[in-house]
Amino acid sequence: MKKIMLGYQLLSCYKQASENLYDALKQIKELGYDGVEFIGFFGHEAVEVRAMLDELGLVGMSTLMPFPNLKDDLYKIINDCRIVGCKYIAILLMDPALIPGSAGFASALRDIIHMAGVAREAGIQLLYHHHGWEFGELSGKPALDFMMEAVSEGLLWPEIDCYWVKNAGCDPVEYIKKYSGRCDIIHLKDYVGYRDGAVMFEGEDESVPFEFKPVGHGWQDTPATIEAGIAAGAKWLVVEQDAPSNGSDPMSDARASIEYLKNYGL
C-alpha cells in the first residue's frame, strides 16, 4: 500500500477544467496523480463527473466549497458528493462580513457546526480550508485554533494549506503535528518571494518577487512537511498552485510538482 496518496486541486488548472473537464482530468491522470480535489463540478452533473473519474481511474476525494454555496444548497452538494465519491467537503470562508474578526463570524460558526453535523450523517467529513485571516487572534488564540476547539472534535478538521500557514508566520510542520489525526488532506503549496502582509522567516530575501512555484521548487521545506503529514496520518497530499510560475502552462507545473514528489519516493 502507498504511504500516502497524491492529489491535485483543480483550482490550479481552473481554465482548462472549465473548458474541458474530461481532458483536464485525463492529463492529471497521465501525470501520475491518484486523485483530484474539485472546486465545484464545473457545471457538470455529478453522475457525469463520476463516469469520467471511473473511466480514467482517478479518485475525486474532495471538493472545495464556498460557505454561501454550502449554506444555500447543503443537501444538493452532499448528494452530489456522495455520487462523485467525495469523502470530504472543504469549506472556504471568504466574505469579509463572515470571517473571524467580523461580527458575522459567530453565526457563520453556528452554520458550519450545523453543516458538519449533517455531512457527518451523510458519511462526509467537513474540512475547513483556511487562508491567512484565520490566524488573527480570537479570544486568546489564533482564530483557526479557536474554530477547531469550539467545534466538537471530529466534526470539523482543518485542511492545512502550507502556504497560508507560513504566510501567517507559523510553521506548517508544527500545524500538521498539532492536528495529527485530523488532517487527512494537506495542501502542498510552494512559492518564493515576499507578498504584502506575509511574515518573513530568517534568511528569506524580501527583495525576491513573489511567485507560486511547483511543489519542491520554492521556499517551503517540503520534505519536512511530507514527513510530518505521514506521521500525522494524512491520507492525501494535494498539490495546489494558485497561479502557474512564469506564466507557464499549469500542466507543466503540475508535472514538475508530481515529479518532485515521485522522486522523493511517494
Binding site: 453556528r110 480570537l138 486568546g140
Partner: protein, 277 residues
Amino acid sequence: MKKTMIGYQVYSARDDAAKDLLGTLKSLKAMGYDGVEFAGFYGIDPKVVKEYLDETGLVAISHHVPFAAMREDIFKVIYENKTIGCKYIAIPFLDDETRPGSAGFAETLKDIYRFGKLIKEAGMQLLYHNHDFEFCKVSDQYGLDFMYDAVPECILQTEIDCCWVKYAGEDPAEYVRKYAGRCDLVHLKDYVGRKEAGKNPYALIGVDKDTASADEGVAFEFRPVGYGCQDIPSIIKAGQESGAEWFIVEQDLSIGRTPLEAAKMSVEYVRGVLANN
C-alpha cells in the same frame, strides 16, 4: 394571554435555604411566588427537594448549575434536574479561564453546544445567565452575543440578568427585546450605584477573586426589585412582549433587611407592575 409567573432565585436567600429549605420555600409560596430557581440543593437529595416542592405547590423552574459541575458529570446534572422537574438548567457564571475573551472560551462553546444538546434531548432547555464580563468584544461583538449567535436558539436560550446588562452600560429592556422568543426566563435584579474602575461587584458575593475589598464596593448595592435604579415596568413590558414566561427575582445580597423581607418587597412590587400592565 398566558399568565406571567413570578419566580425567586433561591440563591438570594441561600443562608435561610441552607438552614431550612422547606421552611424557606413555604415562606416564598406564602409571599406569592409561583416558582423557584435553585442554585444547588444544600446537600438535600433531589427526591426530597421534589417532595418539598409538591408540598408547597411551588414550581421548580430552573437550576443554576456551575459549569464545572456540568463538565464533571452532565448526566448526573440532567438526572437531578429531571428528578425535581425543572424545565430549564442555567449556566450561572463562567470563571476567568472559561469566559469570553479567555483562551478557554473556544472549549466552553464546544461544551455549551454538547450540554445544550444533551439537555434538549432530555426534554429540558439550557440557558446562559449573564454577568457583565460577557460584554467584552469577541470578533467585533459582545462575547454574550457571540455565544448566542454561535449556538442555535433551540440549544441555548438567554436568561438575561437585567442588573448586569445595565451595569455593563446596556439597556436591559432592549436586550430582552433583542432576544425575543429566546427569553423564557428573565432575571429581575435591582441595584443602586455604578460601575467603578478597579471594583468588582462579584467580590461582594464571594464568587470571584478580586483585589478590591468589600468596603471599597459601597457605591454599589443590590436592592429589592423596584427599589433601585432599574426601570422595572419597561423591562417587564419588554419581557411580556418578547415571550417571557417567568420573571425571576434575584438579589445577590440584601443590606439592612433579611433576604426574605427583601423577597417580599420584590414580589409585591412585581405583582403591582403586572397588575397595571
